[in-house]
């Protein structure tokens, strides 16, 4: 029993990190119509930003974490300026945008490789090494910190989107981009906000994941693919769906590891995603008939 709870907490920890990227992918798709596959690059970029800050500016873990978020914001805005703004009004925008973000991640990954080398880097532990025991289950500060900071970030973003003027603009873009542009919401300006916010989420997930695992020029690929899968299962464009999907996949990961073995995690995960998508082609919380027509 303890094992299972331990694994479930593990799963939730991982899911909260991937969930951040999933929500980022989801918001970008629904607000901008951009399938951003350069989150892998933004992830590594933010990780290296945090690493540089730790080395050269100040080593305090919380500061490093915020620098990771800041670097993620810069990376997101960069992708927005390079890909979204020049391409968003061209024909076949979706496929162009996707290929553009892939090109950015190709170039960016190589530049990171050139500057930092293939050797893995490690960020400091942000949350110390404390432990709490609740009902025979040991919770490390690390895990609690990861879960709490992800939930905090997500809450801030959702609150911001619900209550601020900018959030209103972004939600208007999600509902109907044409109508939004008619009532005077600038597509480019909103694009920069959206990419900055999603970049911040990716930056946080990069900082959180790089302190547990490691950081390398291409370490963002797996989180991105997992994030995309979660977003897909939850329904592109739905924050709620992405959160539900992240939790389901986290449980799935824990249970599969327990009963089948770690090798089969991806298999059961994709079997689950395919089943969900065959039943509901637009994901768990996606609207069934209306797709976003960019």
């Amino acid at each position: 029993m303890n094992d299972i709870i331990f694994l479930i907490i593990n799963g939730i920890t991982v899911a909260s990190i991937y969930g951040l990227i999933a929500v980022a992918v989801s918001i970008t798709w629904s607000a901008l119509g951009l399938l951003n596959l350069s989150y892998g690059f933004i992830f590594s970029f933010a990780g290296y930003g945090a690493w540089l800050a730790e080395r050269h500016i100040y080593g305090e873990p919380i500061f490093v974490m915020f620098m990771g978020i800041a670097a993620g914001i810069i990376g997101g805005i960069m992708v927005c300026l390079i890909v979204f703004i020049p391409v968003h009004d061209k024909p076949n925008f979706t496929i162009r945008g996707m290929i553009g973000t892939l090109a950015v991640s190709l170039i960016g990954g190589q530049i990171l490789l050139q500057n930092f080398g293939p050797k893995a880097k490690l960020l400091p532990e942000f949350f110390g090494y404390g432990k709490i025991k609740i009902l025979d289950v040991t919770l490390t500060a690390d895990k609690i910190g990861i879960i709490c900071s992800s939930i905090l970030m997500l809450t801030i973003v959702v609150k911001w989107m619900k209550s601020s003027r900018r959030g209103l603009e972004i939600r208007a873009m999600m509902m109907n981009p044409h109508a939004a542009s008619i009532v005077g919401i600038g597509v480019r300006k909103t694009g920069i906000y959206v990419m900055a916010v999603t970049g911040a989420m990716t930056g946080l997930s990069a900082a959180l994941l790089s302190q547990t695992y490691y950081l390398s020029p291409f370490s963002g690929l797996t989180p991105m693919i997992k994030g995309v899968s979660i977003a897909l299962m939850g329904g592109l464009g739905s924050v709620r769906g992405a959160v539900i999907a992240a939790i389901i996949l986290g449980f799935n990961e824990a249970l599969t590891t327990k009963f089948l073995g770690g090798r089969y995690v991806l298999m059961t995960q994709f079997a689950l995603i395919i089943i969900v998508l065959i039943i509901r082609p637009r994901g768990i919380a996606g609207i069934l008939d209306k797709a976003r027509e960019a």
């Binding site: 399938l35 596959l37 892998g40 390079i82 020049p86 391409v87 024909p91 979706t94 496929i95 162009r96 945008g97 996707m98 290929i99 553009g100 892939l102 090109a103 950015v104 991640s105 190709l106 170039i107 990954g109 190589q110 530049i111 490789l113 050139q114 291409f218 690929l221 797996t222 693919i225 995309v228 899968s229 977003a231 897909l232 592109l236 090798r263 991806l266 298999m267 995960q269 994709f270 995603i273 395919i274 998508l277 065959i278 082609p281 637009r282 994901g283 797709a291």
Partner: protein, 552 residues
Amino acid sequence: MSDIKTKKRKTWKNPLAVWGAKGGNHEVPTPEWKNPHQIWRDTKAFKVPTTKIGRFHYEYKSSNHGEKIWNRLRWWPTRRTILWTQGVYNRKSLKPEKIRKDKRPIFWFLSLLALAIMPFILPDGYKNSLLTAGGIFGIYASINLCWTLVIGTAGIFSLATYAIVGMSAFLTTWLSINLGLPWWMLPMIGMFVGLAFGVIIALPALRLDGFYYGLLTLGLNELCRVFITTSHAFGAASGGLYGADTFVNDNWEPMTQTIVQYYSGFALLIAALFLFRFVDGKRIGRILKLAPEKKEAFAEASGVNYKRARVTVFLISSIALGFIGGFYAAYYRGSAFDIFSFHTVIMGLAMITIGGIGRADGAVAGTLIIVVLDRVLVELGPYRYIIIGLIMMFTILFLKNGLFGIRKQFRDWRDKKKGEARSSRLERGGEMLPEQATEIDNKDEIYRKRYDKMQREFLKTLICDEIIEEHKQKPLGQHSEALERVCYYFRRGAMNDKYVVKCEVPFKKYKIMALSGVRGRSPRLVEDKIYDTVEAAYHGLFLRRIQDLMEA
């Protein structure tokens, strides 16, 4: 008419009045006489600037050989001619000429010929590396052609192409190692592997659309990668699985081995091109051209079962990809894990987007560019990926559909610029524009319009209060010269929209109508005003015509 003060008043006397002519005025004030030839002289006068007009045809036209025009070579056993030829007449000399409507077969033939004789013309220093890259090019171009079938023809945005090839390569290699299968069995078994994977991957394609499916297949690719790299059977530690039987004999000289590999890759490319031609260009491809994305409902209403056609194309290309996977295993004696990596997917997408998605020539040319950058210019190191990324960025930022869309894009741009230049020179009611004039065969029409414009310009100068007053007094009969010229022009006008007087009640009610100019179509009423006398109606009609003339 407002500038009546500036015009000198003159008097016109009816020359027929002496003989007591009926109708017409005897003596009326009239504007000063103007020379009707002056406007012709003014128009003919040389006024810079002149602009270049017409379009230059660079197209090569071969001379027609008379009787033999119908004795064309044909592809046996079809009636299809070797090249699509059209007979035309030279517009100036009226000589019969022939043009090739579609020159792409010529370019395909020349480029494939160049690839075929490549081993004999390459300098010895580069021969080995270039031929090795050539073999890789053949395999990748075939994969990309099958992918183009999936993305372009079937319109299924699948990113799992390399996953099918990789799974087929790994499974056939494993079978070859463990069961000792000979090399020629590998592509055959690969076809079954491809079919099995195609069926599994095609299932969600029926429900999902567009990019949802693309993202799912991206995940499937990752799934295959993780499955293969962590599995002990497929050599988890060695970076790949090697040891399959191969058609290249180790006892041959190294150069012979390279040449055999090169030509086998070339043969695979030819086979893939034939597959593309027979799927994309035949019935099933044409069915799918009726059902592009977002127009599926129309295709369905037309009786096209597009879903079935899409899945058929998907399965055909999956089988072909499985075949290529088996071939890949027999070519390299196995496969590396690299084939499943995200990097490979990016490179593959770069290959098909640079050339232009959905076109065979685009897929092959894009593959050539990327393979040359990736495999031949190895000394550039990681910079070559940056170059590839920049080329991709350039393509999506500036080109409509890759390299092979440049031609159409350029023509559209040129026509747009032409249109802009044309509209900047446009005059209302003007004569024909120079650009239009070159494209009209009946030159009389150009002269008529030109004359008509000058005539109207001249007549506008004659319209003044005097002649209107003169017409009001006596609409019929002999008029002064100025009014007579105007009336002649009006009477000679075209029948469509020509004004006529309609008699509702004789001597009481008259109305103005406009003729339709088409036999059998009735005239339309232009205004509700009722005139008491026919003379008043005549004058009202005259005023309407003057208004049209001044406005045109």
